[in-house]
Amino acid sequence: MVVLFVSGSCYWWNDVLNYKVVAFLLLVALSFLSLFLNILPVIVAALVSAFIWNFFFIPPRFTFHVNSAEDFFLLIGYFVIAVVHSALAYRIKQKEKRVQDEEQQVNMLKLYDTLLNSLSHELRTPIATIIGATDNLLMPGDKLHEEDKRSLLLEVSVASLRLNQQVENLLNMSRLASGFIQVKLDWCDVNELIYATLKHVEENLKKHTIQVSVDENLPLFKLDSGLMEQVLFNLIFNAIHYTREHSQIIIHADCMDGNCVITVEDNGKGFPPEEIEKVFDKFYRLRYSKTGGTGLGLSIAKGFVEAHHGTIHLQNKITGGAKFTIKIPTETSYLNEIKNE
């Protein structure tokens, strides 16, 4: 196209321009082409432009015939320069690509490293606790007080629950990564879903208060209750883990334009604005955040919500604290429709 355009405009100016200048302009056009295109189209363009130059410009015009030896050499020279040029440009591009690939690989390795670091830390800490505590308990000779024994056993219990949580997260993550998630939609009472989740959360409560506000006449939604329970658990667990004692968590569910909308908000510090975009990334953890998470909870929540073709987003409230909003398009069924049978 470019070749045709350039030669076309040169043809227009034919009276003014010498045909040798045309060759020069064509070469300029070609070198631009070789910056953006692959080697094959560039060579084709070089061939086409050589023929066009020959046919339309080199006297006698409108023949492929070349009169003088000078013109013949010019034509050959033109062609050779065009091909060499495109080959060189191609090689430069190849090299650039290789450098980029290498950079990407280095970045991947870095990510992998931080991932492994955080993971092994989160897995090893509870394991270390369990090994240490049980070693102590198994020590020959009864040196431990009854009270110490009990507190060691308590540590083991907490550590193993934490370990279980981490494994659950990893399994869910690999289910997501492998595309193995099958959403099994079934009628779901969101009120029941929230309270069932809270029952699991209770073990982790640290004097937080949880307030649930669900519309009395909320319809049933078609959701995968298992996945949604996990989503809510991760959001609530996150809110409990990263806010101070006695903080308040508010869960709200609503039906808006056929969407199931659930929000989970807290009155903690909220998220640093520059990191809000990244919190759903796999293995992402806030800078200076406290330990105890793998950085998987929120990305699993996002994955599960997206498996429902829904969205999840995070914002800081004006009054302080973070607010997660889940929005899932779904079928609804109102209770009153079958109430009076």
């Binding site: 009628w187 009472d189 298992g226 069924s333 209770l335 079958i338």
Partner: protein
Amino acid sequence: MNILVIDDEGQIRKLLHIILQSNGYEVAEAVTAKDGLIAAATNPPDLILLDLGLPDETGHVVLKKLREWYTGSIVIISVQSNESDIVNALDNGANDYIVKPFRTGELLARVRSALRFSNVQDDEPVFQFNNLYVDLAARLVKKADEIIKLTATEFSLLALFVKNEGKVLTHHYLLNEVWGSGYTNQTQYLRVYIAQLRKKIEEDSNRPVHIITESGVGYRFIMME
């Protein structure tokens, strides 16, 4: 009471053995499906704890073979987040299930309720727990000494729960028993009636103590502890 544990994991067998024995049960162990079936046949236990993931044959196959002749209780042990497996086993004659990793209290509660179920089969139509009183024969339900009016469907759902006290009932089972075989996929009926029934019989319908949700599996009715 005799309990047979069929599980290929040595640690789990040992753990179960210690927990059950220290609570007064006699425990026998089997490692494979084949050994489990033989052990059950030679010395029929009161209850079988069956792991679904056995090396030679799946627990589902063992369950089916056992149910050809064994009438005692079978409680399934399964790994977490495998609801369809659990529902499948329950619909194929397992009495209850417990997921690994389990808490000791939970395990003992399942075992107790399963054993109670296999022993007492004469109908005792009057139940009382906390503030709730149910007399099935008289079709009378009271909460804190106040009579509760239930619709016919609500009552048949409650009656089914009460008769299966302590046992988990799958969505499929409940729909089939109360609404009939054409309704087994109409889970919205179940959700609605469970919500209504909870409002009528629970102190706080959001934090139910009688009708317990077993996520992805079904419901469990609790009337004593």
